[in-house]
Amino acid sequence: MTTMGAASIELRGLGFRYPDGTPALDDVDLKVDAGERVAIIGPNGAGKSTLALHLNGIHTATIGQVAIGDVEVGSRTLRDVRRRVGLVFQDPDDQLFMPTVGEDVAFGPRHAGLRGDPLRVRVGAALAAVGMEGTELVAPHHLSIGQRRRVAIATVLATEAEVLVLDEPTANLDPASRRDLLAVLDRLDCTQIVITHDLPFAAEVCRRVVLLDEGRVVADAAMIDVLGDPDLLADHRLFLPRGFDPAAV
């Protein structure tokens, strides 16, 4: 699968409060280069998923700015931003809402106006990129959760996304599906943001990590430096599995 390329991401002073007044993000600055892979880690309620929803304009910034490449995320640029930024949600059943795999993968490109043979080719290529070729007519509930996760990634690859944002991509995956997912992500050349509690997985996919807690960026550094600091992790309710050596990845 060839993507349209990769886009950079820039968040400047991003802040967000839920309608009930609960603060979710506070003065977040983040710059990710085109093609870079960055893990965002943090305890539950740190604001990781809220941040992800800002990247493709599901939440629009009330304080600060979000830019994808040279496009500022706002009501006028939503269509373009949602084509360029693909969100892969935590539960693949939330993402796969059409009756068949093929229709689901075609949903985004069809909204962008693609029809006929070019659409079929795009769907086939996106499924092939995640190792799910030939499943166009299968109903999503007939797939295993690992296969559903890969199809969920195909749904955003089909839009030729330049940025891939994965929210808890290893949730509920068995070891073999987790390994398959790693191989799929490794083959993609787009910018990747991996939001996860699975620190070994983050270490395998990304060299850079952003630690978020209570809506603020606590650390933004090389993976080895953050995972190699058990006190920093423990201060923010994160722990590596016993015996895991981040330097060995």
């Binding site: 269509r79 949602r82 809402f97 009756p99």
Partner: protein
């Protein structure tokens, strides 16, 4: 029959059911023709009699209701053994039973040869309102997921000693039902978010319009055509 375009099968089934419904109950020979058409379709689709009988069970409540009509109907009445039955009630019962059975047989042919997603595809190609087709699609997609969720919650409830066998023990089951409604609502919000993330702007993208060929239409529509002509004759020249 599996290879026919779904929109053609939908039109054929609807035309057949309309013909059966429009036929006056008194036109008994017309129902013999309708039955022959249904049997031909069942044979062409190679549907075993056992499958048909199993699926026809759904009409039992309607048949039970219809069975009351001869007893409770108005005069004139006729004596059948020890019972005095209403003549109009007997015709009404016959009408309900024969129309429901034939209509269901046609539906059995449709669903045995067409997957739910193909039926939805056919609805789209017939230009049914996209929002309604999308809602039906979500029901197909999420019905099993919500069902599985309900099963898991029921197991969790029973694992903590709540059996809810009798009406006065329904508190646990009712709580599960309530939680399921809330969870389904929350899932709906997440699905909507996932749709927005892929460019959804309030309208579903239109379906591709593949035209079925003439032969396909001819093969599928000949049987309902026979029924439609029969119904017309039964109405015009009773």
């Amino acid at each position: 029959m599996d290879g026919l375009a779904p929109e053609v099968k939908l039109v054929a089934t609807t035309a057949y059911v309309m013909a059966v419904v429009c036929t006056p109950p008194e036109a008994v020979p017309a129902f013999a023709v309708h039955a022959a058409v249904a049997i031909a379709a069942l044979l062409l689709a190679r549907i075993p009699a056992r499958t048909l009988m199993r699926r026809l069970r759904i009409e039992i409540p309607f048949v039970a209701f219809a069975a009351l009509l001869p007893v409770m109907g108005a005069a004139p009445r006729i004596d059948v053994g020890p019972l005095s039955l209403s003549q109009a009630g007997l015709w009404a019962m016959w009408g309900i039973v024969v129309k429901a059975t034939l209509g269901l047989a046609a539906s059995v042919v449709l669903i045995a040869t067409t997957s739910p997603s193909q039926i939805l595809e056919g609805c789209s190609r017939l230009r049914l309102p996209p929002t309604l087709v999308a809602i039906a699609g979500f029901m197909v997609r999420y019905g099993s997921i919500i069902g599985d969720e309900a099963d898991r919650m029921a197991v969790a409830r029973r694992a903590r000693g709540d059996e809810s066998r009798w009406f006065w023990q329904m508190r646990g089951a009712a709580a599960v039902g309530g939680a399921l409604v809330v969870r389904s609502y929350e899932r709906g919000e997440r699905v909507h978010r996932a749709m927005l993330a892929r460019g959804y702007d309030g309208t579903m993208p239109p379906a591709e319009r593949a035209r079925p060929n003439g032969r396909e239409c001819g093969v599928a529509l000949v049987l309902p055509f026979v029924s439609c002509v029969t119904a017309l004759i039964a109405i015009v020249a009773p």
